[in-house]
Amino acid sequence: MSEPLPDSEAKLTTQQRVVMYRRMLLCRMFEERVYYLFLEGRLPGTIHQSQGQEASAVGVCSVLRSGDMITSTHRPHSHAIARGVPVTSLMAELFAKDTGCCRGKGGSMHVGDRDAGMLPAIAIVGGGIPLASGYALAFKYLKQPNIVACFFGEGATNIGAFHEAVNMAAIWDLPVVFVCENNKYAASTAVEKVMKVKHVSERAQAYGIPGETVDGNDVEITYYAMQRAAERARAGKGPTLLEIETYRFAGHSRSDPGHYRAAEEVASWKERDPIARYEKQLSTEALITPEDMAGFKAAIDRELEEAIHLAERDPSPKPEDCLSDVFVS
């Protein structure tokens, strides 16, 4: 399931909308499977999951074209799926296999595949933001018609690298969209405790670029906001700071029970589940039927089952593979 979304400057077509729905579903079901694989002790390392944030990943990436690039964070699974990194190679990476998208060297926090349009995710908070500006500088210099979508959390906007890299992109009108997924918490830290302004998007003013805050649990709102920002970037007018308001349903990482969030708060966000909302919207408009949904779920289930099955049988790297890839030889 990585059918490419057609390029779009205009209104979403019915087909695109259904594809976006299906892709969000794939993100969600992938994360749910991975969660249980971790609980069962079948995956090594740690994970940071993105249930609840699928509309951001899918809304943003659905605007991108081939040749565009995304940067991501310690919470990269949905970004990778939305960008079209093959699910088999993602799953294999989580299983630490040689067939993984980083050949077992990266792991959950560094998944990515340049050829699919995603750099290895950067797990240093804010560390991907300068890379995004740099990639965009090269696009501009090389006169390539591409843009970069740079994902990061609201917590990353307090890192010096954010300021330095957004400012550079602004003064040089670089083709990049800074996509801040504001899910209200950086690990256990509530955003109000670490930021005096109400919205991350207000920070755009300081760089002289547009800033916009959108309902990130609505995939179409997110899509159209990204479309505006992407058009601006492609037209050579420079970056936009897009704040996508959303919420993570899971803990910060594998081991986090999330006691710092009120149960009512979590429940109220679950009411706004981006997938359930879109399901309802598409059903109301009679674009999908309950049978379609059941069909999608069954197909995704099979796809994930197959990916797990393959990953488990795939070869591990050899111990001494540790030594390769340090330099270009």
């Binding site: 307090n158 710092y260 111990p319």
Partner: protein, 353 residues
């Protein structure tokens, strides 16, 4: 020169059994009670319902001391280090932390250019009494969450560097670090924490140790001979002390009597302890989890070559991580981190029985 190294066997100690996390927490609590200029700075260290820092060391401290002393910061490592240095000059004793040692690179400017040099640049007028705690070690989290960084900081004049291997040393050294008038980078190994519950490390060692009820401090610059021996000196820190001890047991069964030295602090370094031992055994192996090239072991090898060349009966050997980033896949990580087997086989190369 006679050795200042102390030989302490935990059997001599009376006290409670504690994990490293508990011992470090007790050190913080005691120093905060003793001196209200001691404050803590870090991410997620005092949030209600939170973690008590990435590895639970500060759990419960905001309840006792309040948020004006256990200060939750934004994700801003450069400012955490720099603010700690600024406050330290003005008379506080900040104990800051980063969640993973790898993030010290974000704080490098403030540490290496400011904290380390302000004493010097002020002609001896200023002091920067701060501590920066940092967890190190590879734990299947990949390249940006598993580095061992001691050598970077050992290289900067003006910074002290501690690296305890057990709860007793952890507590005593942290208390000394807090009372030290110089900036101290305090390394803790993730697999030695003994964290419980959700923060438990799968591959973590069970290194609970005896920590006395009564107060004690461990001075910087005193190595500990954790196992006396005659045939070969093994110098190690952090997790590698434990691997070296396991190796020494295996070697003993093969008639090789290894002396294991836990350096405990890298700056200042207890040179007499290592020199005396090498003069006795004639052989030296240095075991570190850091990358081989330019690791702290290289400095030890050079100094021993300088001072003890006439006593050496075999080449000095280093057992270290190869010159690669920490890989993610456990099978590669096990290759990367020095193993007991590598220490044993290296010892057998230098000691011909």
């Amino acid at each position: 020169m006679s050795s200042s190294a102390s030989v302490i066997s935990s059997r001599e100690l009376r006290g409670r059994e504690m994990t490293l996390v508990e011992a470090l927490r007790e050190a913080l609590r005691e120093e905060m009670r003793r001196d209200d200029r001691v404050i803590l700075l870090g991410e997620d260290i005092g949030v209600e319902g939170g973690f008590g820092g990435a590895f639970t060391v500060t759990l419960g401290l905001s309840e006792e001391f309040g948020h004006h002393r256990v200060i939750d910061t934004p994700i801003s490592e450069a400012a955490i280090a720099g603010v700690a240095a600024g406050a330290a000059m003005a008379g506080l004793r900040p104990v800051a932390d980063v969640q993973y040692g790898d993030f010290l690179f974000l704080a490098m400017d403030q540490l290496a250019n400011n904290a380390a040099k302000l004493r010097y640049m002020s002609g001896g007028k200023l002091a920067v009494p701060m501590v920066l705690r940092a967890p190190v070690g590879a734990t299947t989290r990949g390249s940006q969450h598993g580095q061992s960084l001691e050598a970077f900081f050992m290289h900067v004049p003006g910074l002290k560097v501690a690296c305890p291997s057990n709860p007793y040393d952890g507590k005593g050294l942290l208390k000394s670090a807090i009372r030290d008038d110089n900036p101290v980078i305090f390394f803790e190994h993730k697999l030695l924490y003994g964290s419980k519950g959700a923060r438990k490390e799968k591959a973590g060692l069970q290194v609970a140790g005896i920590v006395p009820e009564e107060e004690y401090l461990i001075p910087f610059g005193e190595a500990k001979i954790v196992r006396p021996g005659r045939n070969v000196t093994i110098v190690a820190n952090l997790l590698m002390v434990h691997r070296s001890m396991q190796a020494a047991e295996i070697l003993a069964s093969q008639s090789i009597d290894a002396e294991v030295i836990d350096v405990r602090t890298l700056v200042p370094f207890d040179w007499p302890a290592v020199f005396d031992s090498v003069k006795k055994t004639g052989r030296l192996i240095i075991v570190e989890e850091d990358n081989l090239t330019g690791g702290w072991g290289a400095e030890v090898a050079a100094r021993v070559a300088d001072d003890c060349i006439g006593y050496l009966d075999a080449p000095i050997r280093r057992v270290a991580a190869p010159d690669t980033p920490p890989p993610f896949a456990p099978i590669m990580e096990q290759f990367y981190v020095p193993s007991v087997e590598r220490i044993v086989s290296t010892a057998k190369q230098v000691v011909v029985v």
